[in-house]
């Protein structure tokens, strides 16, 4: 039995201690926002915030996050349904194509802006290592800059 916070709610899961957080979220907690894209920490589609840090959940055993606070892409939306600043920037720049990779990018960008509110292109390159097979990188870059501007104006 592992207890943790997921999107602000305390949950306890009864499962194989070695089961990756990604599959616990998807199969035991019905949170389908984090995606399976590679299973080996290569693509970032499964990224979630663990105590604020963007982490590939596909290689994170559930027992290693006992007591931690996990936020998935669904958890970025405010209680009244308002999109987070990063999500709004994603809409404003019309970033997604197929969209399968985007939850992971949105999480990675959220963590980046938390640590570095006004990132340079080089800092974006450093922080964002996810894969988008549809090739939305130019728009992701624009959306991160847009979110940074929105953040500064807030």
């Amino acid at each position: 039995m592992v207890e943790l916070m997921v999107n602000g709610t305390r949950v306890s899961v009864e499962t194989d201690a070695g089961k990756p957080l990604l599959w616990v979220l998807r199969e035991d907690l019905d949170l389908l926002g984090p995606k399976y894209g590679c299973g080996v920490a290569q693509c970032g589609a499964c990224r979630v915030l663990i105590d604020g840090e963007s982490t590939p959940s596909c290689v994170t055993p559930i027992d290693s996050v006992a007591g931690a606070s996990v936020v998935t892409v669904e958890g970025l939306v405010q209680a009244d349904g308002t999109l987070s600043l990063v999500q709004q920037a994603w809409i404003d720049e019309q970033v997604p194509q197929c969209g399968f990779c985007q939850p992971g990018f949105i999480i990675a960008a959220t963590a980046l802006l938390e640590a570095t509110p006004q990132p340079t292109d080089a800092q974006i390159d450093e922080a964002i290592t996810n894969i988008c097979r549809c090739g939305t990188y130019p728009r992701i870059r624009r959306a991160i800059h847009r979110a940074a501007t929105m953040l500064a104006e807030r």
Binding site: E27, P96, Q97, C98, C134, G135, Y137
Partner: protein
């Protein structure tokens, strides 16, 4: 008979079913001078007013637009919904949603792809018959960048017809002639009395009215949506993490399966050495051999299924292909290029005589590309439920419901079951690129579901199965020859491609008939260069079979041939001592449309402006999917050979544009996809087996060294062309040409570089040794 068949369509279809289609067609040529649009009749179902095959209005005024094409990122659901909303005078906001219809109506058939006639222009008995047959077959497929071309006109007509039905209903309700009514913002208005009626109020009455015979289309000058960028309808769910992709389908009592395929394609399961051990793993419900060729582990969760599958100890049969390596494939292709009698696809003039008669040295170059795979971000999956009564329902991220149906037939057939009915739910696709037109995963899920009747079974392939055991783009090579005249321009152009026939491989797996391996039209796409003025021209092809399953792959033959031909044009320009842009301009002297696009790309890139040492610029142009595209790549090659594509400029003429921002997004994404192909990825064979297995050894472009992209749309005023595939087509040649400009080195094989890992999830690309 589906409810939607138009009354008119029903009569004609009845005739076709009676076997008298030809007589009816010949007798009806005059009447059929212009092909009409199917599916314009409506019906009412509860508070849903289904106005026609493409449009439903609910009592609360919410509008559902039925788009029978797969959304896989290209934005087609938005573009086609815009067309309907335009004619209907509907605001394009969140009251509109899009659904992929589950009924395979004739109106949804993709006859454009087969008959290659635009619905707005198509006429004649052959079209009439073809359309009926493909309609009855439920030939619905998304591919060949054709969705806008196939449906923009029929959906426009559907929107216009529905508007007229709403006006007629309004006229009856208000007791005034329809001519005094207007529509705007989802209302029918009577200006004189100031009265107005909401579409939601009128829809049920309107749906039961006969559709107009000849719906009046809104003149282009009045368009408020078409041609103006609109926000994608699918993006809010996608940024919230709420979008349900195939992999996210959750059903009560669902079972999950993971699959292991033979390491060498064609091998069969000989035995499972440890079946009992695998069956004893937590959650495991079943271990099944599928079609003698794959092993599935079925469990309560996919994690359990995959864990247990990773323990499988499977002995496979030996096959002849077990020794094949990429080097051997390469040798086979080169041998084929020397073949005495290749298939002749095009032969204009007399190439050999022109070459023999030319006094300048012949330009003769051989090029090659490796196998590739699609690596869609969403791994392959399918969910199928076989109920106790034999009815089947499927949820699949697929490019074709017909493919899903066929896959279900095959999979249930393996289990000895005949479905009593089939319902296909096409989910959102996490990328497709041609991969999801195959029926392989659906057949597996259907087989397993037939073994576990009453419980849905979701099959997910691991990324390793997807990359190493899936479907591939052909390994291909070409020999191109040209003789130049005294002015340096080609007097003869001769192209010979050696590749495994795409159509033959796809048909062999999926269709009841097979056109044969020779003369594959997809393998020669991009070789003819008809837009270049050349007096003698020949295009030939040689099928080179292998054990590898070849699938459709984004832009098919163009993905390799345009690299070959547009590199070769540069080689000709160089031999003639000409600037590559100026040389192409001369070659395009009879193709003003292409010339305009080429010039626009060159202008965007500032062609001709000086570049620093180690930097270079390359250009390439192609016509594909009835669009014309040109790109300029700028690269920097460092001392140690590291290559960076700094910027790519693209110009595209896709004819009439519905949603400009979606076209630009496809160009941006296509360019990034093309850079991956040009510099990074390859599927290699060793011992008959694919050696790559995941993104660590099948590298794709990431953010850090992705080029900046700038795109311009050139407006030719022509009817719409395709936008999903052209973006990737010229990239590799533009980059290879830029490398030549930067370094003087001509690299004739893809990938142009070797990808090295630098730190975690970070790569750099270094040019292959000069020997290539």
């Amino acid at each position: 008979m589906p409810r939607f068949l138009s009354r008119r369509g029903f009569l004609i279809t009845g005739a076709a079913l009676g076997g008298t289609a030809l007589i009816a067609a010949v007798g009806g040529v005059g009447y059929l001078a212009t092909v009409d649009v199917d599916g314009l009749d409506g019906f009412v179902d509860g508070d849903r007013a289904v106005l026609n095959a493409f449009l439903t209005i609910q009592g609360d005024g919410r509008v559902v637009i039925q788009v029978p094409r797969t959304e896989m990122g290209q934005g087609i659901h938005t573009g086609l919904a815009m067309v309907v909303a335009e004619e209907l005078d509907l605001p394009f906001d969140d009251r509109i949603s899009v659904a992929f219809p589950t009924e395979p109506l004739p109106a949804y058939a993709n006859w454009f792809n087969v008959l290659q006639q635009r619905p707005e222009e198509a006429s004649g008995p052959a079209v009439w018959v073809g359309r009926r047959v493909l309609g009855l077959l439920g030939f619905i497929a998304t591919g060949a960048s054709a969705s806008t071309m196939a449906l923009w006109h029929p959906m426009r007509v559907a929107g216009a017809a529905a508007r007229q039905m709403l006006l007629a209903a309004g006229s009856a309700r208000l007791g005034v002639p329809a001519a005094q009514l207007t529509t705007a913002d989802g209302f029918v208005r009577h200006e004189a009395s100031g009265r107005s009626l909401f579409y939601g109020e009128l829809a049920r009455e309107a749906a039961l009215l006969p559709p107009p015979d000849d719906p009046v289309l809104k003149p282009a000058a009045d368009w408020r949506l078409i041609g103006k960028s609109q926000r994608r309808v699918d993006l809010p769910a996608k940024v919230r993490g709420e979008q349900v992709f195939g992999m996210d389908v959750v059903l009560p009592d669902m079972l999950h399966a993971s699959i292991r395929h033979a390491p060498v394609f064609g091998a069969r399961v000989s035995r499972i050495a440890n079946e009992a051990e695998v069956r004893a793993q937590p959650g495991v419900k079943d271990v099944a051999v599928i079609d003698g060729r794959q092993v599935a582990v079925v469990a309560d969760s996919w994690w359990q299924a995959e864990q247990a599958a990773s323990l499988l100890d499977i002995a496979w049969t030996q096959t002849e292909a077990a020794g094949v390596t990429s080097a051997e494939m390469s040798a086979r292709l080169k041998t084929a290029l020397g073949s005495a009698e290749p298939y002749e696809n095009i032969n204009e003039g007399d190439v050999e005589a022109a070459i023999a008669g030319s006094t300048s040295p012949m330009i003769d170059a051989t090029y090659e590309v490796p196998f590739l795979t699609h690596a869609c971000m969403e791994p392959m999956n399918a969910t199928v439920l076989v109920r106790q009564d034999g009815s089947v329902e499927a949820w699949v991220p697929s490019q074709s419901p017909l493919g899903v149906r066929t896959g279900i037939g095959r999979g249930t057939g393996w289990a000895g079951l005949e479905p009593t009915s089939i319902t296909c739910n096409i989910t959102m696709n996490g990328g497709a690129f041609g991969r999801r037109s195959d029926l392989d995963v659906t057949a597996q899920a259907a087989f397993l579901a037939a073994r576990h009747r009453g419980r849905p079974v979701k099959v997910i392939w691991s990324r390793e199965e997807d990359i190493g055991r899936g479907l591939y783009r052909s390994h291909a090579a070409a020999r191109l020859r040209a003789a130049l005249g005294p002015d340096g321009l080609p007097v003869a152009y001769d192209a010979l491609v050696a590749a495994q026939s795409i159509i033959h491989s796809v048909a062999g797996r999926n269709l009841p008939f097979n056109p044969g391996p020779d003369g594959d039209s997809l393998s020669v796409e991009g070789l003819d260069k008809l837009h270049y003025t050349i007096p003698n021209r020949r295009v030939r092809s040689q099928n080179v079979p292998s054990h590898m399953p070849i699938g459709f792959w984004r832009s098919n033959g163009f993905s390799f041939n345009t690299f070959f031909t547009e590199s070769f044009v540069d080689e000709c320009a160089l031999a003639a001592g000409a600037d590559p842009l100026a040389y192409r301009r001369t070659l395009l002297r009879d193709s003003p449309r292409h010339l305009a696009v080429l010039n626009r790309a060159a202008e965007l890139a500032g062609w001709g402006s000086p570049m620093a040492q180690g930097r270079g610029r390359g250009i390439a142009v192609e016509e594909c999917y009835r669009s014309v595209i040109a790109q300029v790549a700028e690269v920097t090659v460092a001392e140690d050979g590291e290559i960076t594509v700094d910027r790519v400029f693209g110009a595209i003429d896709v004819g009439m544009v519905i949603n400009p921002d979606a076209v630009i997004a496809q160009m941006e994404g296509g360019i990034i996809f093309g850079v991956t192909t040009a510099l990074m990825s390859a599927i290699t064979l060793d011992g008959g087996t694919v050696t790559e297995s995941n993104f660590h050894d099948f590298p794709v472009q990431r953010m850090a060294n992705a080029p900046a992209v700038e795109v311009a749309i050139v407006d030719s005023g022509l009817p719409p062309g395709g936008a999903g595939e052209p973006g990737i087509v010229p990239v590799a040649a533009a980059i290879a040409n830029a490398i030549h400009a930067a370094t003087g080195r001509r690299i004739r094989a893809l990938p142009l570089a070797v990808t090295e890992t630098v730190g975690e999830r970070r790569t750099r690309t270094v040019l292959r040794s000069a020997a290539t």
